[in-house]
């Protein structure tokens, strides 16, 4: 998907020994949105915005080590050894050795001569790296100004972490002018460096530059045009995580030191085998227990009691993403955790007083097909007609944010219908659910509405799998535990009057490691093109057991 922005200049932070002025340049092509104020809670803001930056640049996908240099070297060694073996036989080892010494000497001299070149080249690469660094930020953060708070949102490069920093107006003082709305801001790595210079003793001005919308008449070049080609999967990930927020969750509070303890274990230990999950054991009235696999290390959180009515055991993956919360530990009062279920998105809300920071994590760090299966997050939840939807959205726009109850009362509609309409807008990226305050907020992710039909499913197999689920055509026959935490699932799916037999095994980390299906797609492609619709459907049905 192509996103176009036009910025009037670049965002900048001007800092001197006594003041800092943070000036974000908004996207000039969108509805004017601006905000000018002075920052009051400076340190908290600094830490929170730094955490947000960590999310933007985080990419925890597995990157194989580049071993070519080593392999070359090893091949060379191999050759040399063979040469020696052969030479000993023909009794010319001495000569070979002297030649080898000479060669080594020549090599070292040659490498010494090349050294300046290599050094200069490395310097050049470093320069390019620095110069192009801003290309890494896939989508510039989104800023929304609402009558009660200003919030920043971003989504990580690895399509798995969502960050939202909300700031009450209490965070600011001398709020001079503002205009509600949503806009993208120009963001760069240099800004992050400047944020680090925010101090309590420096006056800190914060603005989303209103002059960014002034008409430029003389110089066309004044606009910095940015075109970003975002992968569909990225946008889909963003929508999935943000629409997951509006689903019912299991929630509880954690003391900041509990998060510190989780990070502490993750920093000290490196998992070398599966499963790499984190297991929340929640029993009503008892301290939250967190088990970190594969070491089965148990962290008991005596200061955090689970207050819910039912006990749960929920596993989540991709726990290293929690390390982005590290900077918030000293400033946070508590962390509220919202869990959707095993293998589903989870949310961590840091309470920083008047600031709140939400970290949303998708089910897994890597959303490849072997773990896929969150596509139902974008499925419509309650059928609402177009007219009602429109009315609900207009109603929401009036005050920019509203609880569903209030909205239902105001519009004289059933709450169910209001919720259905709101979730549809959330899935389309035009509204979000604020977990912190329990309200829906208007937030247009992009200038043009997103093509949701195109984004909903990664491929047509997911679509058919969804159809099987809605038609209740899936029958789970058995679920057997296997060794090493793997699970075998077998079932039957009714597809066009035929019964399709499906069987697959997922490992301890929820990856499909072996599968069988009697359909044509599977018999032709096996798993090379990803699982067939029947396997996907059974997997979804099996998850709810």
């Amino acid at each position: 998907m192509l996103f176009d922005y036009a910025y009037r200049g670049s965002s900048s932070v001007a800092s001197s020994s006594s003041s800092t002025a943070v000036s974000f340049v908004p996207d000039a092509t969108r509805e004017p949105t601006f905000f000018v104020a002075e920052l009051r809670q400076k340190i908290e803001f600094r830490e929170a915005i730094s955490a947000l930056h960590d999310i933007v640049v985080s990419d925890l996908r597995f990157k194989p080590k580049d071993k070519t240099a080593y392999k070359e070297w090893a091949a060379q060694r191999e050759e040399i050894d063979w040469q020696e073996v052969a030479s000993r036989k023909s009794e010319v080892a001495g000569r070979v050795r002297s030649l080898q010494d000479e060669l080594n000497d020549l090599n070292s001299r040659s490498s010494a001569r090349w050294q300046p070149f290599y050094r200069a080249r490395q310097k050049y690469f470093d320069y390019i790296y620095r110069k192009q660094r801003d290309l890494w930020f896939l989508l510039d953060p989104v800023i929304t100004v609402h009558p009660d708070e200003v919030f920043f949102e971003c989504f990580s490069e690895d399509e798995s972490s969502y960050g939202r920093l909300g700031a009450n107006y209490e965070v600011f003082e001398n709020v001079r002018e503002f205009q509600c709305g949503t806009t993208n801001i120009d963001y760069s790595a240099a800004l992050y460096d400047e944020f680090q210079k925010i101090r309590t003793y420096k006056q800190t001005k914060f603005e989303i530059d209103p002059s960014g919308f002034e008409l430029a008449t003389t110089n066309e070049n004044a606009f910095k045009e940015v075109k970003i080609d975002l992968p569909d999967s990225w946008v889909r990930g963003f929508l999935q995580v943000s629409s997951a927020m509006s689903l019912p969750t299991v929630s509880f509070d954690l003391h900041p030191l509990d998060v510190h303890n989780i990070c502490f274990v993750l920093r000290r230990k490196k998992e070398r085998s599966s499963p790499r999950s984190m297991r929340y054991i929640l029993k009503p009235g008892e301290p939250v227990k967190i088990v970190l696999e594969p070491w089965n290390l148990e962290i008991v959180c005596p200061r955090s009691r689970y207050e819910g009515a039912d006990s749960h055991e929920i596993r989540v993956w991709g726990r290293r993403r929690l390390l982005t919360l590290e900077r918030l530990i000293p400033v946070a009062k508590k962390f509220t955790v919202h869990l959707l279920g095993t293998g589903l998105p989870s949310f961590y809300i840091a309470d920083l007083g008047d600031l709140n920071f939400t970290l949303g994590l998708s089910g897994w760090t890597v959303n490849d097909w072997s773990k896929a299966g969150n596509f139902d997050l974008l499925a419509p939840r309650f059928a609402t007609d177009e007219f009602t939807k429109q009315a609900v959205f207009e109603g929401l726009k009036e005050n920019w944010f509203e609880t569903p109850e209030n909205l239902a009362r105001k519009l004289n509609l059933d709450k169910k219908e209001v919720l259905g309409a709101l979730s549809a807008y959330t899935q389309a990226g035009r509204a979000i659910y604020d977990l912190n305050k329990g309200v829906y907020r208007v937030r247009e992710l992009s200038r043009e509405p997103l093509p949701l039909e195109k984004l909903r499913f990664a491929n047509e197999r997911e679509e058919s799998a969804m159809r099987f689920l809605t038609e209740n055509a899936v029958l789970v026959r058995s679920r057997k535990p296997k060794q090493d935490g793997a699970t075998e699932l077998a079932g039957t799916i009714k597809d066009k009057g035929k019964n399709i037999e499906v069987l697959f095994v997922v490992d301890g980390d929820g990856r499909i490691i072996n599968a069988h299906c009697s359909c044509h797609f599977f018999s032709v492609n096996k798993l090379f093109l990803g699982p067939c619709e029947h396997i996907l459907a059974l997997r979804m049905a099996g998850r709810n057991l």
């Binding site: 020994s17 460096d193 101090r199 309590t200 003793y201 510190h260 920093r267 530990i329 000293p330």
Partner: protein, 836 residues
């Protein structure tokens, strides 16, 4: 015979006869059988060329084959070597029309109604209008028969053997040569029984002319290197000979005596054959006819020298060498040897010509032949000859006219020759060419090949008519040529214009300077440099124009870089720039323009010292173009006083993107700024940097200018720093500036929490903080209250060392100030009953 054919045959016009004949054949339903045979009967000067042409191309198909067969047999009877040769060769090359298998006599044929029916081949062949002809058996038969005819002639010693063989050999040319190939034969039965694992493998090698039976019979009947095995359809290589090796010295042909008796036939072959093996044979055979060879006339020798075969040239050269008389040189002979294909022969000819150079050099036609020879050495020799000969005015003009008229007739295929000839003319007749008619020069310039155009351009550049008298369009057309050399010549010509003329055409000079082609730019640059050094006004205009060009978007990559070089080559150009232009240059996208802007600022920083703002200096110091960074340093050195007053803004320079800039500013701070300017808040701001180098620099300055009355300020401010290194640095001040002051402790509480919350890091900082807290907490209740709050929060850690230390401190606090609330519960040690 049709009437119009009769008419044309009588008229004797071969071409119109051919057209009429083709028309007639196309009109006939049954084929060409009757009419072609009849024409062969007539065989007059009008009919024969048309017939020969047709015989080379008519298909060996049912409509025609009968005629071919009849004409072939008639040619045998008439001993018509040419027709015999043409048809004999076609028997070798045409593929058979159908396969006449002896035990499968039926085949499918398409009837007129479009349906396919089975027919008997024998029955079909017997029909008058048979639809099949020229079977494989027929083909083999005729291939045998051609040689049989010749063999019989040879065996009875008939003189016509040579005539017929010559005709047959002339039908073949080098174009008929095939690729050499190898057949591999696996014999699985060579041991007497079937053994598939160990076949006997034999290879048969076929040479380039192996498939042609008649050809091989005539040339290689007695050859030690080729043979025909019984049943084989070609001559294979025999013995150890390999395709491409030199031929053996022995005579290989059939009936050598007959050839020797009629050496004219051999000479005929040499003069007309286009086939390498035929030449090899004929030269070898002719060498054995001494008497004939000695008496050969000079025309024959020239013919041998002019053939495109080196072996024939060599032979001709031997004959020519024997005949050449150095005292009375035969010009034609020597020139013929000089342009022949044999390099040794050519070298000898050069010696002959050298011996009487005047004679050759003054012979116009000889010089023309030598200068336009196909071989480069001959042309080089002739050019040398031309250059070293003194021609009179008239001689020179005649020769130039002849050479140029020939040169103009050249096309693109003779580029190399044209280049050499042009060079030779230009080098030899410099004086005469100065007065050459401009019309001829124009002809040369409008020629299609670049080499000829270059000659025209060179003549123009050196022409007595000075550049200013040449029409402007002529020079422009040269400069706009698509050939680089011509453009160079055009600009050279342009540069010859008198200075005042050039100064008038300033815009043209600039357009050449900013030309998209590098060569145009390079050609004009010396002219520009010359003018610029001579005329200051021109220089000023030029520099201003270059600035304007640099301010625009680069049309083609490289233009700005070239302009940059031009400016560098000028002296003292920076004084022509004004401040606003330089600023604009720095702001453009082009690195070349940026660099120029930087150089201007660097040179004139002193002059403009008051114009720069601090923001500009900082922007320059962050710029990726070195000259701009350097200019910022230069400016800074010039306005130290002003900068001293605005240090708080200048701190950002220490965080420049470039290490050289950072290095400069550190030195600047150290050298020019004193304690007066480096107030505590400035030092702290330097430490606030995220750059490790700058942080370290800040810490060093801080230690250097440290005053204890500022200690508290340092501690409070540095404690807010997010980096672990600075947090550790701040712990050093705790003891001195935070001890015994509970209100400061309160202020520092967030700092302690921050240090203690670092995950798995900063051990030394944590230890210092914990120790400090413990000491302070025990001093006063107020301090203990603060410490207790911090410890209560942090004690939930699972880092055992920290947890233990914190619990210990909390216990101490509890003992000292029991009323302070703490998350510790002291359990009484269990005392067991039996323990005494």
């Amino acid at each position: 015979m049709p009437e119009n054919l009769q008419k044309f045959a009588k008229l004797g016009a071969s071409i119109s006869f051919e057209t009429a004949l083709r028309e007639e054949i196309a009109n006939q339903k049954r084929g060409a059988f009757n009419i072609l045979s009849q024409i062969y009967e007539i065989d007059n000067e009008a009919a024969r060329p048309a017939l020969l042409k047709l015989l080379r191309e008519i298909p060996f198909k049912p409509r025609y084959f009968k005629a071919v067969r009849q004409i072939f047999k008639a040619s045998e009877y008439r001993r018509d070597a040419e027709v015999f040769g043409i048809i004999a060769k076609r028997f070798e090359t045409e593929s058979a029309g159908f396969s006449a298998s002896s035990y499968w006599d039926s085949m499918y044929l398409q009837d007129e109604d479009g349906k396919w029916r089975t027919v008997k081949k024998s029955a079909e062949l017997a029909k008058e209008d048979s639809r099949i002809a020229y079977s494989d058996v027929t083909k083999d038969y005729f291939r045998r028969r051609t040689w049989r005819t010749l063999r019989r002639l040879g065996e009875i010693g008939d003189a016509d053997f040579v005539k017929m063989a010559t005709g047959a050999l002339l039908a073949f040319s080098d174009a008929d040569a095939r690729e050499t190939r190898t057949s591999t034969i696996y014999d699985y039965y060579h041991t007497g029984r079937w053994d598939w694992q160990n076949p006997k493998i034999t290879h048969i090698y076929w040479d380039r002319f192996s498939p042609y039976l008649l050809f091989n019979h005539i040339l290689y009947e007695n050859s030690p290197r080729y043979e025909q095995k019984t049943g084989s359809r070609g001559f294979r290589i025999r013995g150890n000979y390999k395709a491409g090796d030199p031929p053996p010295t022995v005579r290989e042909e059939a009936f050598p005596k007959l050839w020797e008796a009629q050496p004219v036939g051999l000479l005929h072959l040499l003069s007309e054959s286009e086939c390498q093996p035929v030449h090899e044979f004929a030269v070898k055979a002719l060498r054995n006819c001494r008497e004939f060879v000695v008496n050969l006339d000079i025309q024959a020798v020239l013919m041998l020298l002019n053939r495109p075969y080196e072996i024939t040239n060599q032979f001709g050269f031997e004959l020519a060498a024997a005949r050449f008389d150095a005292l009375d040189p035969n010009i034609e002979l020597a020139v013929a040897v000089a342009i022949c294909n044999n390099s040794e022969a050519r070298a000898q000819a050069f010696r002959w010509i050298e011996a009487s150079r005047e004679l050759f050099a003054k012979n116009d036609s000889a010089m023309l032949k030598l200068l336009t020879a196909n071989h480069q050495d001959t042309r080089g020799f002739a050019a040398n000859l031309l250059q070293t000969t003194n021609y009179s005015q008239a001689e020179a003009q005649n020769l130039i006219a002849l050479l140029i008229s020939n040169l103009l007739a050249f096309d693109e295929t003779k580029q190399e020759i044209a280049a050499d000839l042009s060079g030779a003319i230009f080098l030899s007749f410099g004086k005469e060419l100065r007065t050459l008619n401009l019309a001829i020069v124009n002809d040369l310039l409008s020629h299609s090949t670049v080499e000829v155009q270059i000659l025209g351009g060179n003549i123009l550049v050196n022409h007595e008519t000075s550049a200013e008298n040449l029409p402007n369009e002529l020079i422009d057309s040269l400069i706009n040529s698509k050939f680089e050399q011509i453009r160079g010549l055009g600009i050279k010509l342009f540069g010859q214009l008198p200075d005042e003329n050039l100064l008038r055409r300033e815009s043209a000079i600039l357009s050449f300077l900013t030309h998209e082609l590098a060569d145009v730019h390079h050609a004009i640059r010396p002219i520009v440099s010359r003018l610029a050094e001579k005329y200051p006004q021109f220089k000023e205009n030029l520099v201003a124009a270059i600035f304007i060009e640099l301010l625009q978007t680069e049309k083609t990559e490289g233009v700005h870089a070239r302009l940059l070089e031009t400016l560098h080559a000028l002296s003292d150009w920076t004084r022509f720039a004004d401040f606003e232009t330089a600023k604009l240059l720095i702001k453009t996208e082009s690195p070349g323009a940026n660099e120029i802007g930087g150089l201007v600022f660097k040179d004139r920083s002193d002059e403009w010292r008051d114009e720069f703002t601090i923001e500009e200096i900082i922007d320059f110091t962050n710029h990726e173009i070195l000259s701009i960074r350097q200019s910022s340093w230069q400016i800074a050195e010039n306005i130290v006083e002003k900068l001293r007053g605005e240090v708080s803004l200048l701190i950002r320079a220490l965080d420049a993107k470039w290490s050289d800039s950072r290095e400069f500013w550190r030195t600047f701070f150290r050298t020019y700024l004193t304690e007066k300017e480096l107030a505590p808040e400035i030092l702290v701001a330097i430490c606030d940097s995220v750059n490790d180098e700058t942080q370290k620099f800040g810490r060093d300055l801080l230690l250097h200018y440290f005053r204890s009355e500022n200690g508290v300020e340092y501690l409070i401010k540095l404690s807010e720093h997010p980096s672990a290194a600075m947090q550790f640095f701040a712990t050093g001040y705790l003891e001195t500036f935070a001890a015994d002051a509970p209100e400061r402790l309160e202020k520092l509480a967030p700092y302690f929490v921050r240090v203690l919350s670092l995950v798995n890091r900063a051990r030394a900082s944590k230890d210092r903080v914990l120790q400090f807290l413990e000491r302070e907490a025990l001093k006063s209740e107020k301090a203990a209250l603060v410490a207790a709050r911090i410890l209560a929060r942090q004690a939930a850690t699972i880092a055992i060392g920290d947890k233990a230390a914190m619990i210990e401190t909390m216990l101490k606090i509890r003992r000292a100030f029991p009323e302070i609330e703490l998350p510790v519960k002291i359990k009484q040690t269990e005392v067991r009953a039996n323990v005494v």
